[in-house]
């Protein structure tokens, strides 16, 4: 069923009796051509593009819980393509372009809102670094703009411009950046994939992999064995757990990152703002809550909840940037598990096992990458060659010294 304005009117006149569930709840078949492990944003996008762009069939997505219950529903919904390095920026700009056409493409309202993002700077050196980054963005076809202090003041007059430690001197802006309703991304991809025949199998945890003579034959799950010609793993947060079934160790540590939302407030922040020096970033949701976060907790964790010291640290960051935030009450806070890769960049690659493919290591930047990650992973699964924007995201870059160290800190908590 396609959604449209006409459909809403037609349903309104007939008592809304025609709406159907957005996707089926099928039982797993004995075998598929493609199994995607992980029904998060990246896994669902992979299945969607496999079916739609690469015309593949017999695809299943296996999810241990319910779709959208992991990091795709836990992030702070920011999309942007403001990276510096060659290995990253074309990929994230490709993702940005897919975001721009996403809602028409999968016929679902994902509330893509290009409200703009600014990164504040506080010193001459930081300004120069952001100028360089902006130039790199422009040369890769993205948009970037350096804002003066007065331009920032016009946008957000309430900021603490004369902070003694980090006075605000200006900002790097990307006007095309913004926010997207993250649950709707999972639902839209799930519905789009389901309409094209993909089986989305929830409450189905992968417990093992059947590998013979260096080739993957299928996965053992909590709902029985399912055969597959190709298995793609996209379970960021749990990557090490799932790939251990194939005997692999990864260049990844799992860390917890917390996020916060305040009570609903009147319109205050119309874009997204990052304050790297203070380990704080913030935007305002359409419901009015200030959505903000800071650093990872800084130790290995699979707990999906963080500890109080980081709550204090994030609150201090918020207070030093916009002191009025101290009057807002915190409504909710939660944690998600990040694949912290050793250089801070992701992996989309084949493994040494035939038919087994891996997508992970997204650190805390996976949400903005969702469409391009799905597209590039589907490309790799269907054609066995990496997508042109994702050639650098290889396993062997660590052994070869070809790290994509955007910030040079990776999983090392003491460097954050």
């Amino acid at each position: 069923m396609r959604y449209s304005g006409f459909r809403v009117i037609a349903e309104a006149l007939t008592g809304h009796k025609g709406w159907k569930p957005a996707w089926r709840d099928p039982a797993p078949q004995a075998a598929y051509d493609y199994i995607i492990v992980g029904g998060g944003g990246h896994g669902l996008a992979t299945a969607y593009y496999l079916a739609k762009e690469f015309k593949q069939a017999r695809i299943a997505v296996l999810e241990k819980g319910w779709i959208g219950g992991g990091n795709v529903g836990r992030n702070t919904t920011i999309v942007r393509s403001n990276y510096l390095l060659d290995g990253n920026q074309p990929f994230y700009e490709f993702s940005m372009k897919l975001w721009e056409g996403l809602e028409q493409d999968f016929n679902y309202n994902a509330m893509v809102s290009q409200r703009g993002i600014i990164n504040l700077f506080h010193t001459d050196a930081q300004r120069d670094a952001y100028t360089r980054r902006g130039n790199a963005m422009i040369m890769h076809g993205a948009d970037a703009e350096l804002l003066t202090k007065d331009q920032v003041r016009q946008m957000y007059p309430f900021l603490n411009f004369d902070n003694a430690r980090f006075p605000i001197k200006g900002a790097l802006a990307q006007r095309r950046g913004g926010t997207v309703r993250h649950d709707a991304v999972a639902w839209g991809y799930a519905r789009g994939a389901d309409m094209r025949g993909v089986d989305i199998i929830q409450n189905c945890e992968v417990l093992g992999m059947k590998i013979e003579n260096g080739r993957v034959l299928g996965v053992e799950t909590s709902r029985g064995f399912i055969g597959a010609k190709k298995v793609g793993v996209a379970v960021a947060g749990s990557s090490s757990k799932v790939m251990a079934h194939a005997g692999m160790r990864l260049p990844i540590e799992s860390h917890v990152l917390q996020a916060f939302v305040s009570e609903g407030l009147k319109p205050l922040i119309d874009g997204v703002m990052t304050y790297g020096a203070g380990h704080f970033y913030v935007s305002q949701s359409d419901k009015g809550g200030l959505v903000f976060g800071g650093d990872i907790d800084g130790y290995n964790s699979y707990a999906q909840r963080g500890n109080l010291p980081v709550v204090e640290d994030v609150a201090e960051g918020g207070m030093s940037l916009m002191p009025m935030i101290g009057r807002a009450r915190l409504l909710r806070m939660w944690g998600g598990i990040m694949d912290m890769s050793m250089d801070g960049s992701p992996i989309i690659d084949k493994t040494h096992i035939d038919g087994l493919y891996f997508n992970g290591g997204w650190c805390y930047g996976g949400f903005k990458a969702t469409p391009a990650s799905g597209f590039a992973f589907a490309h790799l699964l269907a054609k066995d060659t990496p997508h042109s924007t994702a050639t650098a995201y290889r396993f062997d870059r660590f052994a070869k010294g070809l790290m994509i160290d955007e910030k040079g800190q990776g999983a090392q908590p003491n460097l954050h």
Partner: protein, 95 residues
């Protein structure tokens, strides 16, 4: 989290800096055959278990000792704390 320091008693984890898996104590021999591959493993690959994890914490705002803390990465429960010095010596380092 409270880390029960073997010398100083219970201390807030805020006083510590975290490094990672305690396997980092076992630095490969750089002169041995196949040292390059061993160092790639040592530097980049991790077990990253969900459950019991032995890990290195540095008491930066205390006595600056390195500790090996055994902690559950699912519940954050700490079950053992040893001096990294003792662990390394038991494994035959720095005799």
């Amino acid at each position: 989290m409270i880390i029960n320091h073997p010398l100083l008693g219970p201390r807030d984890s805020q006083e510590f800096v975290y490094l990672g898996d305690a396997a980092l104590i076992r630095r490969p021999d750089g002169m041995a055959d196949g040292a390059l591959d061993k160092f790639i493993d040592y530097t980049y690959l991790r077990d990253n278990p969900a459950g019991q994890h032995r890990e290195l914490w540095y008491h930066e705002q205390g006595d600056r000792s390195w500790l090996v803390v055994t902690r559950n990465t699912v519940s954050h429960e700490i079950t053992a704390v040893e001096l990294a010095r003792d662990v390394a010596r038991t494994e035959g380092r720095s005799k």
